[in-house]
């Protein structure tokens, strides 16, 4: 645990099947990471409706209070959050990488970092140590790989599904926690007014287009078996020669490290 000053930004999620309001998956992971780093001193911030019941499930993770910048639905959260964070004295701001409701463009951490002038780490998996005003962190890459980065404090970090899973929310603490609402100026978002959200249309399946000039080619394309059988087969070779061929392929593909 470090004595970092951490703020986690949370939003309201939607259950993937029923669409009911819940704590957002990635934001809950951000809160979990913050709780592991700062314990009870973690501050959690939300921009939206303070009377939303789903907010209480964040409190149930072991928080005493949660600050809410009161805004109507569809308002732009960025100016309010940036103003609040500029005076909050935070050294690390944790967010999820994408909202589960609304546009969900995943731009918020980037815009926030740009506006505050802080560096941004995408896909934070772990904070290893903090020393001399910089933090050494692990970044999650696709395919379970990790990269070590050193980044100057203060910084913004977004968390994706590679971060540690969120703890369960307990009912009692969720009821006892305080939700503190702040008045902020409301800025409308022009996009959502002009282009409303629609239920997702299933994407058309990509068709296999055969561009054949002659009938014989079309016939061949229609009757051909799936490509394959072009592999190299090494028969009657010594184990050493076989191993050498496999080793060469592994090296060419760059999977040996």
């Amino acid at each position: 645990m470090t004595d970092l000053n951490i703020v986690a930004l949370v939003s309201i999620g939607a259950h993937p099947a029923s669409g009911r309001a819940r704590r957002a998956e990635q934001d809950a992971r951000a809160v979990e990471l913050g709780l592991r780093l700062a314990g009870k001193r973690l501050r959690v911030l939300h921009a939206g409706n303070p009377r939303e019941e789903a907010l209480r499930s964040y409190l149930g993770m072991g928080l005493d209070e949660l600050a809410v910048l009161e805004q109507p639905a569809g308002a732009d959260a960025l100016p309010a959050l940036a103003d609040y964070l500029a005076d909050a004295g935070a050294q690390l701001v944790l967010t999820g990488s994408q909202a589960e409701t609304g546009e969900g463009s995943g731009m918020l951490p980037f815009l926030l970092a740009e506006r505050l002038g802080w560096p941004l780490v995408v896909g934070l998996a772990e904070v290893e140590k903090v020393e001399d005003g910089s933090a050494q962190v692990l970044q999650a890459l696709p395919r379970g790989q990790r990269r070590r980065l050193r980044v100057r404090l203060p910084f913004v970090a977004s968390v994706d599904s590679a971060a540690p899973g969120a703890r369960q929310s307990a009912f009692g603490p969720a009821r006892r926690g305080r939700i503190e609402a702040h008045e902020v100026a409301v800025v409308e978002d022009p996009l959502l007014a002009a282009s409303p959200l629609q239920p997702a249309r299933p994407r058309p399946k990509r068709l296999k287009v055969i561009k054949a000039k002659t009938g014989a080619e079309r016939m061949k394309a229609a009757t051909a078996k799936a490509a394959g059988g072009t592999g190299q087969v090494l028969k009657d070779v010594s184990p050493q020669a076989g191993a050498e061929a496999i080793f060469k392929l592994l090296l060419d593909e760059g999977v040996l490290r």
């Binding site: 463009s105 379970g144 990269r147 994407r203 059988g229 072009t230 392929l249 999977v255």
Partner: protein, 409 residues
């Protein structure tokens, strides 16, 4: 080579005409009819009965000898040269920043270039911005009109802020009408959002369809769509458009007019971290060593996995026999894997197993049976005893590691 058999009537005519000067050259080696020393016509009935392959690909026997001389099949070479699309003075640019995973254009990149090509029309040019070294040789058929290579040690490793600076320089010089980036986890999604924040553009994200002046993208957790005017900066999902397939393009190299300023990096890359391959979820592991019924020495198999740094997998038989845990099973009833390299040892390739490895790039098989289905699927197969080959492979990799250490020292 086309499979169509082409007759050469002139060659046939020459072969029939004994007085033609080229007659001798067109006689097939095993002559069936000739005039003997006493002026008697001699025939070789065996050679005639052996027949020849006729124009329809069916064996024919022609006892008259008229079809001789057509033994050499001529077939027109079919080197299809796609028409070259040249944009001499582009009215505007559409800039694309492909991901280039492994130094090559991925299918996502090609879809994106297809979309860029459509947005560019006949007046505009598609400008591809590629960072660092690449191994791609097919930029021309992927639809790239102008190619900007940004190479240098400042772009090596993880340098998103430096790359954004370079893209801003591109934005200043070429003023592209659209910026297109893949909305992927392999870098494009992050770079595109950083660029959007830096340029102050509002991007259209997760776009899966762009037609005319509108584009449709997924919103929220993928349960909603948002339809909006075509943005200047588009982060497109995979399969957003058909890749370019009917034209060739110049891929003419262009350069930046000014040197890109170097910023003091606020994020320092300390390099990749060794990850325990057993901890990587099998569905997203990059390199899997999988064992089946043909593996006799499981101790050796585990040693091979740790020597290669591979995630372990198993076929259903190996799991049922208790050699591997159920969570390691690959196939229709186990995990569907997406490894780039899948090394199957002693797995014959039941259809359920082959379904599970359908998304793998390169498959290597080690098996005793040269006729099994896994070998038909594999890119490289070695027929032999799995224990001996695994042992040799461990030794080879150990020698390579040793060499690397000596080079580094």
């Amino acid at each position: 080579m086309s499979e169509i058999i082409r007759r050469d009537p002139r060659a046939e005519w020459i072969a029939r005409n004994r007085l033609h000067p080229l007659h001798a050259a067109l006689q097939s080696q095993n002559q069936t009819v000739w005039i003997g020393p006493n002026g008697i016509v001699r025939k070789n009935p065996h050679a005639i009965a052996a027949g020849f392959i006729g124009p329809a690909g069916i064996k024919r026997i022609d006892r008259s000898g008229a079809q001789q001389g057509t033994g050499t099949r001529r077939s027109a070479s079919v080197e299809v040269q796609l028409p070259l699309h040249v944009v001499e003075q582009p009215a505007y640019y559409v800039a694309v920043v492909p991901d280039m995973v492994g130094g090559r254009l991925s299918s996502h990149d090609k879809d994106l270039l297809g979309l860029a090509r459509r947005l560019a029309g006949s007046e505009g040019a598609v400008l591809a911005v590629v960072f660092g070294e690449h191994k791609e040789s097919a930029f021309d058929s992927a639809g790239v009109d102008r190619l900007l290579l940004l190479d240098g040690e400042q772009y090596q490793g993880y340098a998103p802020e430096q790359r954004v600076l370079a893209l801003r320089a591109v934005d200043n010089q070429f003023a592209p009408r659209h910026w297109l980036l893949p909305d992927s986890r392999t870098g494009g999604g992050e770079l595109g959002r950083r660029l959007a924040a830096s340029l102050g553009e509002r991007p259209a994200t997760r776009v899966w369809q762009a037609e005319g002046e509108r584009c449709v993208g997924r919103a929220g957790a993928g349960q909603q769509d948002i339809q909006r005017p075509l943005a200047r900066l588009i982060l497109a999902a995979a399969e957003c458009a058909e890749p370019v397939s009917e034209t060739r393009h110049e891929a003419r190299p262009v350069e930046l007019a000014w040197q890109v300023a170097r910023n003091l990096p606020r994020i320092e890359d300390l390099g990749p971290v060794a990850v325990d391959p057993a901890q990587i979820p099998m569905a997203e592991a990059e390199f899997i060593l999988s064992g089946g019924n043909g593996v006799k020495d499981w101790e050796l198999f585990h040693r091979a996995a740790s020597a290669l740094g591979a995630t372990e997998g198993a076929s259903r038989v190996a799991v049922d026999d208790g050699h591997m845990p159920r969570s390691r099973q690959v196939g229709a009833t186990g995990t569907w894997v997406t490894a780039r390299v899948y090394l199957a040892v002693g797995i014959s390739g039941a259809i359920q197993h082959l379904q599970g490895i359908g998304a793998c790039d390169k498959v290597v098989a080690v098996n005793l049976d040269p006729g099994c289905d896994m070998i038909k699927r594999a890119d490289l197969s070695v027929i032999g005893d799995s224990s001996a080959i695994l042992q040799a492979l461990i030794e080879r990799v150990a020698a390579w590691r040793q060499e690397g250490r000596r080079d580094a020292a």
